[in-house]
C-alpha cells in the first residue's frame, strides 16, 4: 500500500469518526427523549385510571357539590384527556409536579428534600456492595468448589433470604443497643439536626462543607448500619454475578495466552480476566444501584430515614396523587439516567462497543 492511499484512508476514517460521534450523541438524546415521554404518558394514564378522586382528596367528603365542581374545574379535570396530558407535560418540563395535599408543599420541593437522603444511602450501599462483592466473587471463582466458594455462597444466600426488616431490627439491636458501635435511627443525632444547613442535602457532604468533623462522624455513624444492610443485598447479587462472569472469562483462550507469556496469576485474574468481567458487570451494578435509588421503604421505615421510598409510600397511603406521580417520574428519570451512565461506562470498558 502506498503512503498516499494510506493517508486517504486515514482521512476517511477520521471523518466518519466525527459524524459518528455527533450521530451517536443525537441518537442517545433522541432515545432519551422518547423514553422520558413514554414515562410521562404512563404515569399520567396511571394517575387518571386509579380509582382515587383527587378532587375529593382535596376538598374532603363534606364539601358541597358546587365546591366540588369548582375545585374540579380549577384542577383542570373537566378538560379532555389529551389537553390534560399536554398541560401535565408542560408543567413537568417546568419542574412543576403540583402541590402535595399531605405536606402542602410543592411536590418538587418535597422531592428535593427526600431524594438526597435516598441518594446518599443508595450510593454508600452500592460502594460497599461493589468494594466487597467483586473481590468476594473473584475469590469464589478462583476457588471454585472449595471452601471459600461455599462460604461466599452461603453468605450470599443468607443475604438474599433474610427479610430486610428483620435484619434491620437485629442490626439495631446488636450494633446500636448492645454494642453501641453505631448511632440509632435518623440521619443525625436529634441534638445536631439544627446545626446543619442543607446545601446539597447529602449529610456527609454538607457536614464536610461546614467543616464540622463531629457532625460528619455523627452522620457516618448514622448511615453506616442502614447502608451496610442494604449493601448486603447488592453484595450478594454482585458477588454471585462476578463469580459466574469470572468463571466464564477464565476459560477463555486469552487467559491461556497470558499464562504462556509467564504472567503472574495475580495479574491474569485482576487485569486480564477482571478487565473483561467488568464489561457485563457494570450493567449489573448499575441496575442494582438504580433499584436502591427507588428508595427501600422497609429500611427507611426502620431507620427513620426520610427518603424517597418512605415519601412515595406515605403519599400513596394518603391518596396524595401529585406526590405519587411526581415521585414515580423522578424514579423513572433516575432509572433512565443510571442506564445511560452504564451505557457510557460500557463503551469505556469495552473497545468493541465503541463505534
Amino acid at each position: 500500500m502506498s503512503a498516499v492511499t494510506r493517508k486517504n484512508r486515514d482521512g476517511r476514517t477520521r471523518a466518519r469518526l466525527i459524524s459518528g460521534k455527533a450521530g451517536s450523541f443525537l441518537r442517545i438524546a433522541f432515545s432519551l427523549a422518547i423514553t422520558f415521554f413514554g414515562l410521562l404518558l404512563v404515569t399520567f394514564l396511571i394517575g387518571r385510571v386509579l380509582p382515587i378522586d383527587p378532587v375529593l382528596a382535596a376538598v374532603g367528603d363534606h364539601a358541597s357539590q358546587s365546591t366540588y365542581d369548582r375545585v374540579r374545574e380549577e384542577m383542570g379535570l373537566n378538560l379532555p384527556l389529551w389537553q390534560q396530558f399536554f398541560i401535565y407535560v408542560s408543567n413537568v418540563l417546568q419542574g412543576n409536579f403540583g402541590q402535595s395535599v399531605l405536606t402542602s408543599n410543592a411536590v418538587l420541593d418535597d422531592i428535593k428534600r427526600v431524594f438526597p437522603a435516598t441518594l446518599e444511602l443508595a450510593t454508600i450501599a452500592t460502594i460497599i456492595g461493589v468494594v466487597l462483592g467483586i473481590p468476594a466473587g473473584v475469590f469464589a471463582a478462583i476457588n471454585k468448589g472449595k471452601w471459600p466458594d461455599h462460604v461466599v455462597r452461603v453468605i450470599g444466600l443468607a443475604g438474599y433470604s433474610m427479610p430486610i426488616f428483620w435484619l434491620g431490627l437485629m442490626g439495631l439491636l446488636v450494633f446500636y443497643m448492645k454494642l453501641d458501635w453505631v448511632a440509632g435511627p435518623g440521619r443525625l443525632d436529634a441534638f445536631y439536626i439544627d446545626f446543619i444547613e442543607p446545601t446539597t442535602g447529602l449529610m456527609l457532604i454538607d457536614t464536610l462543607i461546614e467543616g464540622d468533623m463531629d457532625l460528619f462522624w455523627n452522620a457516618v455513624s448514622h448511615i453506616i448500619l442502614p447502608a451496610s444492610i442494604l449493601a448486603y443485598f447488592s453484595l450478594a447479587y454482585i458477588a454471585r454475578m462476578t463469580r459466574s462472569f469470572m468463571l466464564e472469562q477464565l476459560s477463555q483462550e486469552y487467559i491461556l495466552t497470558a499464562r504462556v507469556k509467564g504472567i503472574s496469576e495475580h495479574r491474569i485474574i485482576w487485569r486480564h480476566a477482571l478487565g473483561n468481567v467488568m464489561v457485563p458487570l457494570v450493567t449489573v451494578i448499575a441496575l442494582s444501584y438504580a433499584n436502591l435509588l427507588e428508595g427501600s421503604v422497609l429500611t427507611e421505615i426502620i431507620f427513620a430515614w426520610p427518603g424517597l421510598g418512605l415519601y412515595i409510600t406515605n403519599s400513596l397511603l394518603n391518596a396524595d396523587m401529585n406526590a405519587v406521580l411526581g415521585g414515580t417520574v423522578v424514579v423513572g428519570a433516575v432509572f433512565i439516567g443510571v442506564n445511560m451512565l452504564s451505557d457510557v461506562l460500557y463503551r469505556l470498558l469495552d473497545p468493541r462497543a465503541r463505534r
Binding site: 495466552t257 504462556v260 509467564g262
Partner: protein
C-alpha cells in the same frame, strides 16, 4: 541441528479425569528435540495439541501429566513450582495459539499485550519496551506498526492478529516456540504468508520450533522432521524430505488422501483404519 538435545520427552502421558472415566489423550510419547524444526501431525484428538501443552505445563486442571523424563536443557519440567514455571514460560519456551480472535485479550490494546510479554522477562522502562514492541511489529512485516500498537484486537484482521501473536510470543526471545495450528484459523491466502514470517524469524533467531498441525504438506515444507501421531501414540517419525518413504499404513493413508496434480483423477481413496494402530 546440534547434538545436545534442547528438549527430551520420554514416555509422556496425559490423562484426563472426566465424568465418563479416564481419557488418555497422550500415551507414551517420546522424542528428542535439538535446535531444529519438528512437526507433529495428526487428526483431531490425536493428542498433538495436548503434547504441546504438557511441555508448557498448561494441561487443564482435570488433567494429569506423567513422564519418565521431561527436561528442557537441565530444567526438569515435570517438577516445577508455579514460580519456576513463570521463568520458563514466555522467556524460554513459548507457544503460538491457534485463533487470534480468541487468544488475544479483547479489552487490552495490542501494544499493551506485547509490552506485557516483554517486560515480564526483561527489566526495562516503558519507553524502551514500547520501542521493542514497535520493532517487533515491524519484524512480523506489519506496515503501520504505530497504528497497530494502539489498536485493539478486534480492529485488525485475522492474518494481522496472528502476526501480532507471533510478535508477542517471540519478543522475549525464547529458545523454543511451540506453534499449535498457527494458521488453521486463517484464510488460505494468508496462511503461507504468516507461516513464512514465522519461519524466517525462527531461523534468524536460531530458535527451535515444534509445529503442530493436521496439514501434512504444510508441516513437511516448514520442518526438518515430522512425528505422526494417532490416538495418543507416535506412529511414525520421518525426515520431512522423506515423506514418500513412509512405512506406517496411517501415514501412507493420509498421503494417499491428497489429490495429485498428475496421474489419474479417479476417486480419492478413503483411509481404512485398523485397531492395531492405536496399540502403538
Amino acid at each position: 541441528m546440534s547434538n545436545e538435545p534442547l528438549l527430551t520427552v520420554k514416555n509422556l502421558e496425559v490423562t484426563f479425569n472426566t465424568p465418563k472415566g479416564e481419557v488418555n489423550a497422550v500415551r507414551g510419547v517420546s522424542f528428542n528435540l535439538g535446535r531444529e524444526r519438528l512437526g507433529i501431525v495428526g487428526e483431531s484428538g490425536s493428542g498433538k495439541s495436548q503434547t504441546g501443552r504438557a511441555i508448557l505445563g498448561l494441561t487443564a486442571a482435570n488433567g494429569r501429566i506423567t513422564a519418565d523424563q521431561l527436561t528442557f536443557h537441565d530444567v526438569d519440567l515435570a517438577n516445577l513450582t508455579p514460580k519456576q514455571w513463570r521463568k520458563v514460560r514466555g522467556a524460554r519456551i513459548s507457544m503460538i495459539m491457534q485463533d487470534p480472535k480468541y487468544s488475544l485479550n479483547p479489552v487490552m490494546t495490542i501494544g499493551d499485550q506485547i509490552i506485557e510479554a516483554y517486560r515480564e522477562h526483561h527489566k526495562v522502562n516503558a519507553k524502551e519496551a514500547r520501542h521493542r514492541a514497535i520493532d517487533m511489529l515491524e519484524a512480523v512485516k506489519i506496515r503501520d506498526p504505530e497504528r497497530v500498537f494502539n489498536s485493539y484486537p478486534h480492529e485488525v484482521s485475522g492474518g494481522m492478529g496472528q502476526r501480532v501473536m507471533i510478535a508477542m510470543m517471540l519478543i522475549p526471545d525464547p529458545e523454543l516456540i511451540i506453534a499449535d495450528e498457527p494458521t488453521s484459523a486463517l484464510d488460505v491466502t494468508v496462511q503461507l504468508q504468516v507461516m513464512a514470517i514465522l519461519d524466517d524469524l525462527v531461523r534468524d533467531r536460531g530458535m527451535a520450533l515444534i509445529f503442530i498441525s493436521h496439514d501434512l504438506q504444510l508441516v513437511s515444507s516448514f520442518c526438518d522432521r515430522v512425528l505422526v501421531m494417532y490416538q495418543g501414540h507416535v506412529v511414525e517419525e520421518l525426515a520431512a524430505s522423506a515423506l514418500h518413504e513412509a512405512k506406517h499404513p496411517y501415514t501412507k493413508g493420509l498421503l494417499n488422501c491428497l489429490p495429485k496434480m498428475d496421474g489419474d483423477h479417479g476417486d480419492l481413496p478413503i483411509l481404512e483404519r485398523e485397531a492395531s494402530w492405536a496399540e502403538g
